[in-house]
Amino acid sequence: MIEATNVVKAFNNRLVLNRLSLKIEKGETLVIIGRSGCGKSVFLKHLIGLVKPDQGEIIIDGINVAALTFKQMSNLRMRFGMLFQAAALFDSMTVGENVGFNLIEHTNLSSQAIRQRVEESLELVGLRGIQDLKPAELSGGMKKRVALARAICMKPEILLYDEPTTGLDPIMADAINDLIVQLHDKLKVTSVVVTHDMVSAYKIGTRIAMMYQGHIVEIGTPEQIKNTSNPVVRQFITGSAVGPITDINFKSLEQVEGDRK
């Protein structure tokens, strides 16, 4: 179980996470929705220890992520797979070396066996026979899928997806949604998915959480979210340009912060 309590994070005096609290149950697929720039990626990076909270804590199965030694942190990270928003493939390496990075670095498998495992991972995301290409030779959507293959190659317990379907065509996006659902059903992985693709959110989420002004304003099953009465969430899920989020009279995060001080 992953538990974030009162996480506060500011960059250059600009508050991004404001007392964010969130519980993620083992084996669930929690979808976090919210506008661009509201701090979803920053929150995901907190979960895997890439960013340390200014205040508050992240507890994963009873372990405080911010207080780990280097060795413990490595062990914890081996249980994670993370798909970055912009893929973050190593462009000096081939696709095969990217996907098999962990196998090459942290196991003693033969290169034959690694190639095999890499090919399996690539097939899961609908790619084959591209192990010897360089990331620069791939399209944006392919890069994302290769990055997903890299994230699932070590069969992690917890998967963090940062906008897995952004930039994919609708058919490919649906295939990725199916894959996420499959990983959840078959391998019982715990997934945290950041997205603003509502089709995807309804399809894969066991629960959906809406992030706004640095914290979670509403959390519930897809049904509950669909029928929410919260005007902020309503505006977001219906994709309307008119509503409290865009109302200039509505308090911005900076103002909220000012009031708090």
Partner: protein
């Protein structure tokens, strides 16, 4: 006036913080260099990139500097009929001073810039974050091999530049100033003691550390996309060149009084 003091204070704090960041990176690098697993393949790649690929430009600069030293000194020496000391002048100034600093500056421009640009673009495309999530410390994976490669290749390049500089001086002295071959060789190596060469090598080790740590530091702290990468590249070259020249002066003063 208040503004001036404030500005001064702020840049002093900035400098101290920078020095702190660089020192931390240096000690972390030493730690990771000593930790297994060692990556001979990666170190070899970097050695080729840093050392072998710098040969052409090192050859060019060292040769012409050798030529220039010989010609410039001939200008004066001929007046007092002391041409025979030109070879000694070339060999001593090359080994003690010119080859180490010139090679370091050339490498700072060529290699420092490329390290900062490469690590910088890895930082902005989140590849460095990705390395961490794959339980691989970026310092071990990216900085340590570059450190080892620079630490071995820069002294080797320096010795090579010593030699090429001497050949440059030879070309002028024998073909233009009329010194004999045997005379040149004799006067090159007679006054040269091992200490001169070691002094140069010692400095080049310090320069290697400066180039690697400053460039990696600049690269890994890039923020703000392509523009940030450009800035970091410039800063890496400027700051390492400045540090190379300052530390060279410091070394020369110390060696002068100690040795």
């Amino acid at each position: 006036m208040k503004k001036l003091i404030e500005g001064f204070g702020r840049s002093a704090i900035g400098t101290v913080r920078y020095a702190g960041g660089v020192s931390v990176l240096f000690f972390e690098t030493l730690f990771w260099v000593a930790m297994p697993p060692f990556r001979p393949g990666q170190i070899y790649d970097q050695m080729v990139k840093i050392g072998v690929d710098s040969l052409p430009i090192a050859t060019l600069t060292a040769f012409f500097i050798g030529v220039v030293i010989a010609l410039q000194s001939a200008y004066q020496m001929i007046k007092v009929s002391a041409e025979m000391y030109i070879p000694s002048l070339v060999s001593i100034s090359m080994t003690r001073e010119i080859a180490p600093i010139l090679t370091a500056l050339v490498v700072a421009g060529r290699v420092g810039a490329s390290i900062a640009a490469e690590l910088g673009s890895m930082k902005v495309t989140e590849q460095i974050d990705a390395l961490e999530t794959l339980a691989t410390p970026p310092i071990k994976y990216l900085v340590a091999p570059r450190f080892l490669a620079l630490f071995t290749m820069l002294p080797l390049l320096t010795v090579y530049a010593d030699l090429i500089g001497i050949i440059g001086g030879y070309t002028v002295s024998v073909y233009k100033l009329g010194l004999t071959h045997s005379m040149y060789i004799k006067m090159t190596f007679q006054p040269l003691v091992l200490k001169d060469i070691f002094t140069g090598l010692f400095k080049s080790l310090i320069f290697a550390v400066i180039i690697c740590i400053v460039s990696c530091y600049e690269g890994m702290k890039v923020e703000g996309g392509a523009e940030g990468v450009g800035l970091a590249t410039t800063r890496a070259v400027v700051i390492s060149s400045m540090l190379i020249i300052t530390s060279d002066a410091l070394c020369t003063v110390i060696f002068y009084f100690v040795g």
